[in-house]
């Protein structure tokens, strides 16, 4: 079953730059997909269109049964509740502790207190940060902060986890750790993971599904493999 379906998508920004040309692809439920390509290849735009920070200029994007291109601004939250999103810059709230940062998602959707507590603890345990639960983000290393961000993204048990360069700010060891956390989530929870990256080492080591973009065009989509320029 295809969880994400993209058909004839074009994206042109208002300043005239075209980021995506006629993209058609689909991603199956439960898969772990790397989206790779150099700077300006359109992989960031691709991820942003999946969670509707950007709308496609033309074409159709279906994510988990929702037509993203036609989604009204007021209804965007329906899509976002089915997604977890992880960014390069973590985007944690500095005034909240690890626990509160992760609980932020649950509070935003109006969950009950005991349910929130149970799911937050489970998510934090899954990313291996149980011992730092009451720390603030600035007391954590980059890798740990990214793990908090991952916990926040999965606490709501989404079907899809979107990661936009999650290892971009981390050293190689930390990066591998993060990718292993993502792989763990993919295996244990069955969450579909879509990760944009330009880190060849990771992609080659993991040997997962790979989508290669170059100058806004799809040039390769393999079930299993690595990536070289």
């Amino acid at each position: 079953m295809d969880l994400i379906r993209i058909k004839n998508v074009n994206k042109q920004y208002k300043n005239g730059v075209t980021a995506i040309y006629d993209l058609t692809l689909s991603i199956k439920k439960g898969s772990f997909v790397f989206v790779v390509g150099g700077s300006g290849s359109g992989k960031s735009t691709f991820i942003k269109m999946l969670y509707r920070e950007e709308k496609p200029t033309s074409g159709e994007i279906i994510v988990g049964g929702l037509n993203v291109a036609k989604l009204r601004n007021k209804k965007v939250y329906k899509l976002r509740r089915r997604l977890g999103i992880v960014f390069q810059d973590y985007r944690l709230l500095p005034k909240l502790t690890v626990f509160e940062n992760v609980a932020f998602t649950m509070e935003a959707i109006g969950a009950k207190k005991d349910e929130t507590r149970r799911k937050v603890l489970k998510a934090i345990e899954l990313v291996g940060l149980k011992h730092k639960i009451h720390n603030y983000p600035d007391q954590l290393s980059g890798g740990e902060q990214q793990r908090v961000a991952i916990a926040r993204a999965i606490v709501n048990e989404p079907k899809i986890l979107l990661c936009d360069e999650p290892t971009g700010n981390l050293d190689p060891n930390m990066s591998m750790e993060i990718v292993h956390v993502l792989e763990e989530i993919n295996k244990t929870c069955g969450t579909t993971v879509v990760m944009a990256t330009h880190d060849k080492d990771i992609v080659n080591k993991m040997q997962k599904e790979v989508i290669v973009l170059k100058d806004g065009r799809l040039i390769k989509h393999v079930e299993k493999g690595g990536y070289e320029e």
């Binding site: 007021k74 939250y77 999103i85 985007r91 709230l93 935003a108 109006g110």
Partner: protein, 299 residues
């Protein structure tokens, strides 16, 4: 159930935010306070002007002088006709002999002269004092009465009344305009101050959107916060109204300059004005923050 949970959370967050960003809150509150003070003053003036104009208007009467040799039935006839008119509220009859006696009591010279008049050769005229329902139509009514048989003269203070009515009308309109303009200015000021508060929480809002909070969930705490700011901003104006107006009223004994300009009694007037000031403050805070937060709900 979920709705009430969210509402409770919104209210809690709103209170937290007011005290956490206290310096910015204080800016909004003082801005609301100052404008509400002016709004309150304008409301007090408007109502007082309206009060004494209506007071004066109700004092305006038409005096109808009847022919000197009019018979009893003719008087009754004229009275019935006047009472049948649409714009007539009430009328009082005063016979020429009653007028004579009144004048005699008032003044010794009159007494001396009039004591020789018998009730048959009294040259004075019987009168009706007519009160009208709508003062703006007083001239028409007066002219209509003038056309009746046996009516000799009709007086209603022609030029003076027209000018007075026009002046009161203008004062009222200007005061209303001022209140509306001030409320609008307050809304703009508050939008700007609240924008500052919200700007510092831009990141929080964008993360809320990203983790799947609905716009309603994001907006509500800010709207409640705006209401709290509006309420806090209304405290000083309300105290000002209550104590200030009572002090003013007592100082002037309820009249300004002359018996003609009567002030509105403080109770329950000040409570109504206070209530409307609080409502205006809260509404304005609400509208201000709702429109300020809208901008950030597009990510």
């Amino acid at each position: 159930m979920r709705f009430f949970r969210m509402l409770r959370r919104s209210i809690r967050d709103a209170f937290k935010s007011v005290f956490r960003n206290f310096s910015l809150s204080l800016a909004s509150i003082s801005c609301i306070t100052i404008t509400l003070l002016i709004v309150a003053a304008a409301i007090l003036v408007t109502f007082n002007v309206e009060n004494f104009t209506s007071e004066m208007e109700s004092d305006l009467t038409i005096v109808v002088f009847l022919d000197n040799d009019i018979s009893e039935e003719a008087i009754q006839n004229v009275q019935d006709k006047i009472e049948d008119m649409d714009n007539v509220e009430s009328l009082v009859f005063e016979s020429k002999n009653a007028i004579k006696e009144g004048m005699q009591e008032e003044n010794e010279v009159f007494d001396e002269i009039m004591s020789t008049w018998s009730s048959e050769d009294n040259p004075l005229k019987d009168t009706f004092q007519v009160k009208v329902k709508d003062v703006t139509k007083i001239a028409d009514t007066a002219h209509e009465i003038e056309k009746m048989d046996q009516v000799s003269i009709v007086r209603y203070g022609e030029g003076m009344v027209d000018n007075l009515l026009l002046a009161f009308n203008t004062v009222e309109k200007v005061a209303y305009g001022m209140v509306i303009a001030l409320v609008l200015v307050t809304v703009f000021l508050i939008i700007n101050t609240i924008k500052l508060t919200i700007f510092s929480r831009k990141r929080e809002i964008s993360i809320m959107r990203l983790v799947g909070a609905s716009n309603f969930t994001i907006k509500t705490p800010f709207i409640v916060e705006g209401m709290i700011l509006g309420f806090l901003g209304a405290i000083i104006p309300v105290l000002g109204i209550c104590f200030g107006y009572i002090a003013l009223y007592n100082h002037f004994d309820g009249y300004l300059y002359s018996q003609l300009i009567q002030l509105v009694e403080p109770e329950p007037f000040i409570y109504l004005v206070s209530l409307s000031v609080v409502v205006i403050g809260m509404l304005v805070g609400m509208i201000g923050s709702a429109s300020a937060v809208r901008k950030y709900l597009k990510i």
